[in-house]
C-alpha cells in the first residue's frame, strides 16, 4: 500500500490553562490519501478545529502537541522547525477559515493579497503576479475579475470573500487543503456555490481536502470519508452513506437523530431516552368563529431607511392563535427587520400591524414599553449569549420583565421565576450564575424563560437555534414545541434553516429582498414549491439521507 498524503498517529494536543493542562485532542489516528475529501464532524468542543490547527502547527501559544506524529508525505511535521513549516504552509498545505472577511487584510486590495500569497514561495514580477492573480479569480468564478482585483475586502460580499480565500489557498497549488467551517455564516445558496467550487477545484487538481464542519448534511454531500469526533476522540469513521444510514456509535446515532431532515418530526429529534420527554399532543383548536380577527395581522408592512434602502417592501400575512408561522429567507431578505417591527422595537415606514384586531402600529416603538401589548408580544433572540446582560444572573434576567411589566417583587417574583425556570427545564441551582458561567443550551433556556415569563400570546423567535449545536438545538426545539402546545402560544419562527422551519411551522412565508415570494402551508410549500426562488433555496440545502 502506498504511503497516504497525510497520516496522523496518536495525536494529542494539550492546552495549558489556569486550571492545569487540558487535553483537547486525546490521541487520534487518521489517514488521508491524496485526492480525497475527508469530513471531520462534531459539535463545539469536540476538538475538530484543534486537530486542524495542530496539523498546520498554527495552534496558539497555550496549546502544544503533547503526543503522537503528523506525517505529511512520510515526513513528521509535528516537531518541524518554523523554517520547514514556512516552506510547507501555502505551498503544500493551505487552510481556509470560517470568517473569510476577518481572514483577509482589510487595507490591502484583493489583487495585492493574492500576489503576496503567490510570491511567498516563488519570485514573480508585479505584472506576472497580477496576471496570475487574475487567473486565480477566474478559477474561483468571480464575476468581473479585472475589477475585483483592485477591490478591498469590505467591498465584496461574504461569499466572494470566501472565494478569494479559496483562490489564495490554491495559489501555490498545495496538495492538502484544510477548510475549517468554510461556509458557516453564509446563506444556503452561497454555501452551495462555495462548496461546489471547492469540490470541483480540488478534484481537478488532485488535492486532498479536510472539511471541518458541524453540518452532517454538508459532510455527507461532499466527502468520501467522514469521521465523527466527540470530546477529543474519533468515535466513528465510515463512508457517509453507511455512517448516516446505519450509525454505529451511540454519539453518532444521537447526532444523526438530532439533525433535522425534510422528513423528521420534532418528536423524534432527541433519540437519547435519557433526555427524552414526551411532548403533549397537539391541542385541538376550534375553528375561530367567522369575523374573529386573527391574533396578528400584518398589512402591507414597509420599512425604508433614510439612505433610500428599502429593507421591507410591502409584506402582508397573519398568524392565528396557537399557530406557528415560519419566516424564511437569506440574509438581507428583511426577516429580522419584520420581526423587530412586529415586536415594536423599531417603527415601520408604512403599513398596519393589528394584534387581536387592535392596531398597534400607531404606537411608536419608543413608547411601546408602556403599552399593555408589550407583554403580549415577546421575542427570543438569535445568539443566546449576546442577548443576556453580562451583569445579570440567570435569575435577574428572567425576573427583569416580571419586575417591569408585571410589577412583581419579593416572594411573588421569586415564585414566578422558579416556575418559569422549571418550565424551560433550567435547574434552580443555576439561577445564581452569570451568562459566562452557563453553557449555550442553558443560556438559550434563560432567553426562552425570560420571553415566556410574562405569558405572552405571540412569541417571535429570531433564529432561536442558529448559534447552538445540533443536539442542543434538538432539545431547544422540543422545548419550544412543548411550550406552544401547552400554552397555546403563537410563533413567528424566523430562520434560514428550511428543515427546521418545515418541522416547526404549519405555514411558511418565503422572503426575498424584502418581499414575499411565496406563502402557504409548509407541507405543500416544501413538497411542491411554486416559485423558482423557493426551489433554488430547497435545492441548496445539503441532505444526508439521500447521500450516495
Amino acid at each position: 500500500m502506498t504511503e497516504p498524503l497525510l497520516r496522523i498517529e496518536d495525536l494529542a494536543v494539550t492546552f495549558s490553562t489556569r486550571r492545569g493542562p487540558v487535553e483537547a485532542v486525546k490521541g487520534i489516528d487518521l489517514d488521508l490519501p491524496a485526492g480525497r475529501m475527508l469530513g471531520i464532524v462534531g459539535e463545539s468542543g469536540s476538538g475538530k478545529s484543534v486537530t486542524a490547527f495542530a496539523v498546520t502547527r498554527l495552534l496558539d501559544a497555550a496549546g502544544r502537541i503533547s503526543r503522537g506524529r503528523v506525517l505529511f508525505r512520510g515526513e513528521d511535521i509535528s516537531r518541524a522547525s518554523s523554517k520547514t513549516l514556512r516552506a510547507i504552509h501555502g505551498a503544500a498545505i493551505s487552510m481556509i477559515f470560517q470568517n473569510p472577511r476577518a481572514a483577509l487584510n482589510p487595507i490591502r486590495t484583493v489583487g495585492l493579497q493574492l500576489a503576496d500569497a503567490l510570491r511567498a514561495h516563488r519570485p514573480l514580477s508585479d505584472k506576472a503576479a497580477r496576471e496570475k492573480a487574475l487567473e486565480l479569480l477566474k478559477t474561483v468564478l468571480i464575476r468581473e475579475p479585472e475589477k475585483r482585483l483592485d477591490a478591498y475586502p469590505h467591498e465584496l460580499s461574504g461569499g466572494m470573500c470566501q472565494r478569494v480565500m479559496i483562490a489564495m489557498a490554491i495559489a501555490c497549488e498545495p496538495a492538502l487543503l484544510i477548510a475549517d467551517e468554510p461556509t458557516t455564516g453564509l446563506d444556503v445558496t452561497t454555501q452551495k456555490t462555495v462548496m461546489d467550487l471547492i469540490a470541483r477545484i480540488t478534484a481537478e487538481r488532485q488535492m486532498a481536502v479536510i472539511l471541518i464542519t458541524h453540518d452532517l448534511g454538508l459532510a455527507a454531500q461532499y466527502c468520501q470519508d467522514v469521521v465523527v469526533m466527540e470530546q477529543g476522540r474519533i468515535v466513528e469513521r465510515a463512508a457517509p452513506e453507511a455512517l448516516f444510514r446505519r450509525p454505529q456509535h451511540p454519539y453518532t446515532r444521537r447526532l444523526v437523530a438530532a439533525s433535522p431532515t425534510p422528513t423528521s418530526k420534532v418528536e423524534d429529534l432527541v433519540a437519547d431516552p435519557e433526555y427524552h420527554v414526551p411532548l403533549p399532543p397537539e391541542p385541538l383548536r376550534e375553528k375561530p368563529a367567522a369575523g374573529t380577527p386573527p391574533l396578528l395581522e400584518v398589512v402591507n408592512l414597509v420599512k425604508r431607511y433614510n439612505h433610500g434602502i428599502t429593507a421591507v417592501g410591502g409584506v402582508s400575512f397573519s398568524i392565528g392563535a396557537g399557530e406557528s408561522v415560519g419566516l424564511v429567507g437569506e440574509s438581507g431578505s428583511g426577516k429580522s427587520t419584520i420581526s423587530r417591527m412586529i415586536c415594536r422595537l423599531i417603527d415601520q415606514t408604512e403599513g398596519e400591524i393589528n394584534f387581536e384586531g387592535q392596531s398597534i402600529s400607531g404606537i411608536p416603538a419608543d413608547g411601546f414599553h408602556r403599552s399593555p401589548y408589550r407583554r403580549q408580544i415577546q421575542i427570543v433572540f438569535q445568539d443566546p449569549h449576546d442577548s443576556l446582560n453580562p451583569r445579570f444572573s440567570a435569575f435577574d434576567a428572567i425576573a427583569h420583565p416580571l419586575k417591569r411589566l408585571d410589577r412583581l417583587s419579593n416572594t411573588a417574583l421569586k415564585e414566578r421565576v422558579l416556575d418559569c425556570a422549571a418550565k424551560v427545564g433550567l435547574p434552580a441551582n443555576l439561577l445564581d450564575r452569570f451568562p459566562h458561567q452557563l453553557s449555550g443550551g442553558q443560556k438559550a433556556r434563560v432567553g426562552i424563560a425570560r420571553a415566556i415569563s410574562v405569558r405572552p400570546r405571540l412569541l417571535v423567535l429570531d433564529e432561536p437555534t442558529a448559534a447552538l449545536d445540533v443536539s442542543v438545538q434538538a432539545v431547544t426545539l422540543q422545548l419550544l414545541e412543548r411550550l406552544r402546545r401547552e400554552d397555546n402560544l403563537s410563533f413567528l419562527f424566523v430562520s434560514h434553516d428550511l428543515n427546521v422551519v418545515r418541522m416547526m411551522c404549519e405555514r411558511t412565508i418565503v422572503l426575498q429582498n424584502g418581499c414575499v415570494v411565496e406563502q402557504g402551508e409548509s407541507r405543500r410549500l416544501f413538497d411542491a414549491p411554486e416559485s423558482e426562488y423557493t426551489r433554488t433555496l430547497l435545492a441548496a440545502v445539503p441532505h444526508f439521507e439521500g447521500a450516495a
Partner: protein, 282 residues
C-alpha cells in the same frame, strides 16, 4: 462582585504583585488623609522662627520651613486636601461624562454630533491654561479648582463612555431589555452604564493621578489654595525660593509625596485593567 471576580482578582494579584502593593499604598494614603491631622507630631501651621530652615533631624523628620513649621506634619496633613480636590473633581467629571457620553453613544445623530464638537473645542485648548483661566475668572477658591479640574477631565470621560456604549448599543441584551418593557432612558442608565463601569474604573484611577498634579499645579502658580494652608503645590512653590541655597527638603518631600500618589494611582489603574479585562480571563 461575584466570587468568580474575586478569584480572578486574586489570580491577577498573584501574577502582578505590584498591583497589590499599589492597592495597599493607596489604602494607606486614604487612611493618612483621614486620620493625618490627628496623628501628626506638630501643628502644621504653627510657626517656630527659632527653628526655621532646619535640615531633617530626629525631631523634625522632613526638616522645617522658613517659618519653622514642621515639613513632615505639613506633608501629611496636605494629603487630605489634595486627595479631596482630586477625588471630587474626578467624581464630578466621571458622573457627568459617563451620563452625557452614554446618551451620545446610544442615541447618535444630532445630539451626538453637537456634544462631539463641544468636546473637540474643549480639547483644542491647552487644558492647563484653560483651568488657570477658569480659576482666575471664577475666583481663587477650592470649589473652583475642583470645577476647573473636573471640566478639563470631562472630555475624556465623554469620549470614553461614548465609545464604550457605542459598541454595546446593538447588543442583543439591549434589544431584549426593551422587549422586557424598558424605555430608552432606562436601558442607558440601568443596563449600559453598569456594563461600562469596570472600564471606566480604570480611567478613574489613571485620571486621579493627573487630577492631583493639576490641582497642585494650580496652587503652585498661585491660583487656588492660599498659604498658609498646607498643600503640596504651595509647599513646592514656597520651597523653590530656598532651593538655590541648598535647602532641598522644602521641595523634595512634598514633591515626593505627589510622585508617590500619582505612581500609586497609575499602577492601580494598570492592575485594574488587567483584573477587569474579560479577555484576560481564561
Amino acid at each position: 462582585m461575584s466570587s468568580a471576580t474575586l478569584k480572578h482578582a486574586a489570580f491577577v494579584l498573584r501574577g502582578n504583585p505590584l498591583t497589590a502593593i499599589a492597592a495597599f499604598a493607596t489604602a494607606l494614603l486614604v487612611v493618612l488623609a483621614i486620620i493625618g491631622p490627628a496623628i501628626v507630631p506638630y501643628d502644621p501651621t504653627a510657626s517656630d522662627v527659632a527653628h526655621a530652615l532646619e535640615a531633617p533631624t530626629a525631631a523634625h523628620w522632613f526638616g522645617t520651613d522658613q517659618l519653622g513649621r514642621d515639613v513632615f506634619s505639613r506633608v501629611i496633613v496636605a494629603a487630605r486636601l489634595d486627595l479631596a480636590i482630586a477625588a471630587s473633581a474626578v467624581v464630578l467629571s466621571f458622573a457627568l461624562g459617563a451620563v452625557i457620553g452614554s446618551i451620545c453613544g446610544y442615541t447618535g445623530g444630532r445630539v451626538d454630533r453637537a456634544v462631539g464638537r463641544f468636546v473637540d473645542v474643549l480639547m483644542a485648548f491647552p487644558l492647563f491654561v484653560l483651568a488657570m483661566a477658569m480659576v482666575a475668572a471664577l475666583g481663587n477658591r477650592v470649589e473652583n479648582i475642583v470645577i476647573a479640574t473636573a471640566l478639563i477631565n470631562l472630555p475624556f470621560y465623554i469620549r470614553f463612555a461614548r465609545a464604550e456604549v457605542n459598541v454595546r448599543r446593538n447588543a442583543g441584551w439591549v434589544e431584549a431589555a426593551r422587549a422586557c418593557g424598558d424605555s430608552h432612558l432606562s436601558v442607558v442608565l440601568r443596563f449600559l452604564l453598569p456594563n461600562i463601569l469596570p472600564a471606566m474604573a480604570v480611567q478613574i484611577s489613571l485620571n486621579l493621578g493627573w487630577a492631583i498634579l493639576n490641582a497642585a499645579g494650580l496652587s503652585f502658580i498661585g491660583l487656588g489654595v492660599k498659604p498658609p494652608t498646607p498643600e503640596w503645590g504651595i509647599m513646592v512653590a514656597e520651597g523653590a525660593r530656598f532651593i538655590s541655597t541648598g535647602k532641598w527638603w522644602l521641595v523634595a518631600f512634598p514633591g515626593l509625596a505627589l510622585m508617590f500618589c500619582v505612581l500609586c494611582f497609575n499602577l492601580l489603574g494598570d492592575g485594574l485593567r488587567d483584573i477587569l479585562d474579560p479577555r484576560m480571563r481564561t
